[in-house]
């Protein structure tokens, strides 16, 4: 209390947007990541490794979606389009151009940026729910486009097979080497999620996103350049999601148009619904809960989707803000 008093006296407003609490929160974050890294080494079961690798990849997708939908309040439903372009782009660069996978994943970030702009330009001319319609239409239009892309080596329905293994400075990481993949996907996922929640969303961009979401007219009146920041939201969201797509492609060794299927899309929606939007770490916890829950429910087989549905309904009723609602406001 007294320390905040001294701060106001020289007009320094304490806020996460001016770096308040960043060091402590970052320490906690990286401690959790270190614990996860350690846990990876202690886990002997490669199937469990596999589940966590999927969790780490999903975390990047959902954090990116949370950035644009939860924080910036833009109804973008083309998230898996970004993922698909990242996966195909990275796969094709390494298959046809012989680009080493690590560089191909980096290039996927660039591809993501371009696709982000391409989806953003028409979206920025639309209002609210029409953005949802347009972006979802892009999602629906992509599988037939991939079919047509067979001519340029996109593999059509069967997709792309035999995507080269990750080469970590001379060390070939096969898809069977789950422990290494666990660490690789954890490292990439942790960096992406950190950049999203601790760098972008706690900086000026994050403040602009929240301002446009909370009160768009007021935001414009205090000088927020709407076009620029909404464009940045699309680009940032697409860049990270495309990286996740690239990692996924090289991990599974296969990409097919099925990444745009209903199951993937529903899973992503369920993760956000259960985790809650716009409040770190809600969405990320949603990923852990849904992916792990989905695996635990595998023995129920036919009822699995039903149970997931029930979980969503219960969350919406009892925790309308998702798991994130259990946390007090940030700050």
């Amino acid at each position: 209390m007294s320390s905040s008093k001294t701060k106001t006296e020289n007009s320094h407003i304490t806020s996460v947007f001016t770096g308040a609490g960043l060091r402590q929160h970052s320490l906690v974050y990286w401690a959790v990541i270190a614990a996860l890294a350690l846990a990876g080494g202690l886990i002997g079961d490669s199937y469990i490794h596999h589940i966590f690798i999927l969790v780490f990849i999903w975390c990047v997708v959902i954090a990116s979606w949370d950035l644009i939908l939860g924080y910036a309040g833009i109804f973008n439903y083309a998230q898996l389009v970004f993922f698909t372009f990242g996966a195909y782009g990275s796969a094709m660069l390494s298959i046809y151009a012989g680009v080493t996978p690590l560089l191909a994943i980096l290039a996927a970030a660039g591809i993501g940026a371009v696709i982000g702009v391409v989806v953003a330009v028409p979206s920025l001319r639309l209002k609210g729910e029409y953005v949802a319609l347009f972006t979802f239409a892009v999602h629906l239009a992509l599988p037939p486009l991939i079919q047509q892309g067979k001519a340029i080596g996109m593999g059509g329905n069967t997709g792309l097979l035999g995507i080269p293994w990750l080469n970590l400075f001379g060390y070939q990481v096969s898809s069977i080497d789950k422990l290494t993949w666990y660490w690789v996907s954890l490292a990439i996922g942790a960096i992406c999620v950190y950049l999203i929640y601790f760098v972008i969303l706690r900086g000026r961009m994050g403040l602009a996103f929240i301002a446009m979401r909370d009160a768009d007219t007021f935001a414009l009146a205090i000088g927020v350049n709407e076009y620029r920041y909404k464009m940045l939201a699309f680009v940032a969201s697409a860049v990270f999601t495309a990286v996740a797509g690239g990692v996924y492609a090289h991990y599974t060794g296969v990409v097919t148009p099925r990444v745009l299927g209903t199951e993937f899309f529903l899973m992503a929606m369920v993760m956000l619904a259960i985790g809650g939007m716009g409040r770190f770490p809600g969405a990320v916890l949603g990923v852990f809960i849904v992916v792990i829950g989905n695996e635990l429910l595998r023995s129920f087989d036919d009822y699995r989707l039903l149970l997931l549905g029930v979980a969503v309904v219960l969350t919406v009723i009892f925790l309308p803000l998702g798991v994130a609602g259990l946390f007090r406001k940030r700050g």
């Binding site: 007021f218 009146a221 205090i222």
Partner: protein, 242 residues
């Protein structure tokens, strides 16, 4: 000493004309009251000045520069601020962060420091004890203070205030009028405010603009305007009807 001027400004919504051929000047440092019956086009006029709307025809100039086609954030960068009838704030953030947002984006869009310190803003708005409070928790008067504070934080030369006294009780009106007066006295900022209550206008405004059906009726000192027969008829007459 003209700071802003409108020349033959018309605002058309489809076939409906909300403003017709409006021309007048705003002097630097004055408090200009804007009055007129409901639906007269007062809010539309404010928005045409601040960039919320782009005039269908005519010209809006600020410091001699044609800003008719400038967007809202760009006009903010030139020093034109606005507060709204209904204070919708950055409700998931703290009071302090709302002010900070004004300073950060005002600085960004200006490309230089805003020239009004946070100290002065806190002194004027008296928000220093509520900085850590959630903005969503603030009462109406506090919300109005926050909105004004954020607008000031962008470093404006002129502020357009749409019904700043709306919803306040008599005591709060006195209090907020004092804040508005201070903004002009201490910071030299021009104020254009829409207000129904003629008594408040007479008290604070240097000049009063009356519009009716989107048309200019008159612009003069409060004494002249509020004693004008025609104005009394369209303005107070309406009030008696209601």
């Amino acid at each position: 000493m003209t700071q802003m001027s409108l020349e033959n400004v018309t605002m058309q919504f489809g076939s409906f004309r909300a403003l017709t051929d409006m021309s007048f000047h705003i002097d630097r440092g004055e408090i200009l009251g804007v009055a007129g019956p409901n639906g007269a086009g007062k809010s539309t006029l404010m928005n045409v000045c601040t960039g919320g709307l782009r005039a269908s025809s005519g010209q809006v100039s600020f410091n001699g520069r044609d800003v008719t086609r400038f967007k809202r954030h760009a006009r903010c960068g030139l020093g034109i601020a606005q507060t709204f009838q209904i204070p919708t704030l950055l409700s998931s953030l703290t009071v302090g962060e709302n002010l900070l947002a004004g300073q950060i984006f005002g600085t960004e869009v200006r490309g230089e420091a805003t020239g009004i310190s946070m100290d002065e803003i806190l002194f004027l708005t008296q928000l220093e004890d509520s900085l850590q409070m959630d903005a969503a928790q603030a009462d109406l008067l506090t919300r109005k203070r926050i909105m004004l504070g954020a607008a000031l934080a962008t470093g404006p030369e002129i502020i357009f205030m749409d019904e700043p006294l709306g919803g306040l009780n008599a005591e709060e009106i006195v209090e907020f009028l004092q804040v508005i007066r201070h903004v002009r006295e201490e910071l030299g900022i021009t104020i254009v405010m829409v207000e129904h209550k003629t008594r408040a206008l007479a008290e604070i405004a240097d000049r009063v603009l009356i519009i009716n059906f989107g048309e200019f009726v008159m612009l003069d000192t409060p004494q002249v305007v509020l004693n004008d027969e025609h104005v009394v008829e369209i303005y107070l007459g309406k009030k008696h009807d209601a």
